[in-house]
């Protein structure tokens, strides 16, 4: 039965929203100056961006979403005061094959370790499987991102690929993992309970 009443974009403490072109750029600009955050979120070099540059990126992003129709980008906001917490994305969608890639990031340190990541991933997965009707989703994570790995495992993602020594940072090489989750696996554990997650 179609659960139309359960909101797609409203969580307990956080919600998904569109980009606020006036307010978000300033905040995201700060995140880009945070070396630790950028090195968790991106494999490309950490590069500080001005609010003006972030704004330009937002424009490019929305244009790309509109033209290519293979990406959905959400701003994660706190329900309490609407402040920008992070971003949640389904991208590189291959409609014919029914697959896509997920990205999730909580921008400022104060907003982490509060359960927001779990709430955001819960909503993102429901959107990907129950609204975009994907068959599987993947996530790419460097081996040093323990937090992301733990979060993905909570929802039953399986580590499928170990791309050995694919990333270089701080003078050494690291592995990159590819995690995958299939639709029926998600259906068994949509809320992300660790004890229900498969090994």
């Amino acid at each position: 039965m179609f659960d139309i009443q359960t909101q797609l974009f409203e969580g307990v403490d956080v919600r998904f929203g569109p980009i606020d072109h006036d307010k978000d750029a300033e905040i995201e600009s700060k995140w880009t100056h945070d070396s630790d955050f950028m090195r968790m979120m991106e494999t490309s070099p950490a590069r500080p961006m001005s609010a003006a540059m972030v704004k330009k990126q937002y424009e490019k992003l929305e244009k790309d979403m509109d033209e290519n129709k293979n990406q959905y980008y959400f701003a994660i906001r706190a329900k309490e005061d609407d402040h920008l917490i992070g971003k949640a994305v389904v991208q590189w969608i291959e409609w014919a094959n029914g697959n896509g890639f997920l990205r999730l990031g909580i921008g400022s340190a104060e907003d982490r370790c509060r359960g927001y990541g779990t709430q955001a991933l819960r909503m993102l997965l429901r959107f990907a499987f129950a609204e975009l009707n994907l068959f599987r989703v993947s996530a790419i994570v460097p081996e040093y991102n323990e937090g992301a790995i733990a979060l993905l495992k909570k929802f039953g993602f399986a580590q499928e690929v170990c791309r050995r020594q694919s990333l270089e940072r701080d003078g050494r090489r690291w592995d990159i993992y590819v995690f995958g989750l299939l639709k029926d696996e998600w259906q068994n554990n949509p809320d992300g309970h660790p004890r229900q997650a498969q090994a």
Partner: protein
Amino acid sequence: MNDVLKGELVRLSAYDPEEMSKAFSRWNRNSEYFRLLNSSARPMQSPKMAATWMEKEVGEMSPASYFFTIRTLEDDKLIGELGLDVVTWSGRDAYVGLGIGESEYWSKGYGTDIMNVLLRFAFAEINLRRVTLSVFEYNQRAIRSYEKAGFRHEGRSRQLLNKEGRRWDMLYMGIQREEWFELNKLAIDAVPRVGELDK
């Protein structure tokens, strides 16, 4: 993980054309600064030109080009700028240039700190094998600062410059990855705590 955007005295920040064009006008009025500055072949003629060039270069975010402004950690004051351009990918060598526009920050250790942050970025984030710079023979303060950071003299173009009625050499200095790692005993943390999205 190492913070590749922060030093002890300064941090690297984004380049905002509007802010920088105002700073340039102020800094370039100090002819001593103008004559000492030796960035990697950047034409800094007018604030407007700089702004246009900046928009294009910085907007493109090529993996070969990085441009930062320098701000003090203490009071977030904009004191200078620095740039890094990869010359050859097979040699993994980049040309760097920096300038401290606010002259009251000269000879106080800021130059050395900035260079250390830059070198860490070059070796630990862009994964270069060596860094090169050129410096005017008469810029003794900078030469000493670079020597302190670990640069070695590699050669000179004799009598290249013509200023104040005499000729001067252009000095070339370079530092290799192994040398810098050795000098700084680059500490690689254990798997980091920052970045956990949830517990």
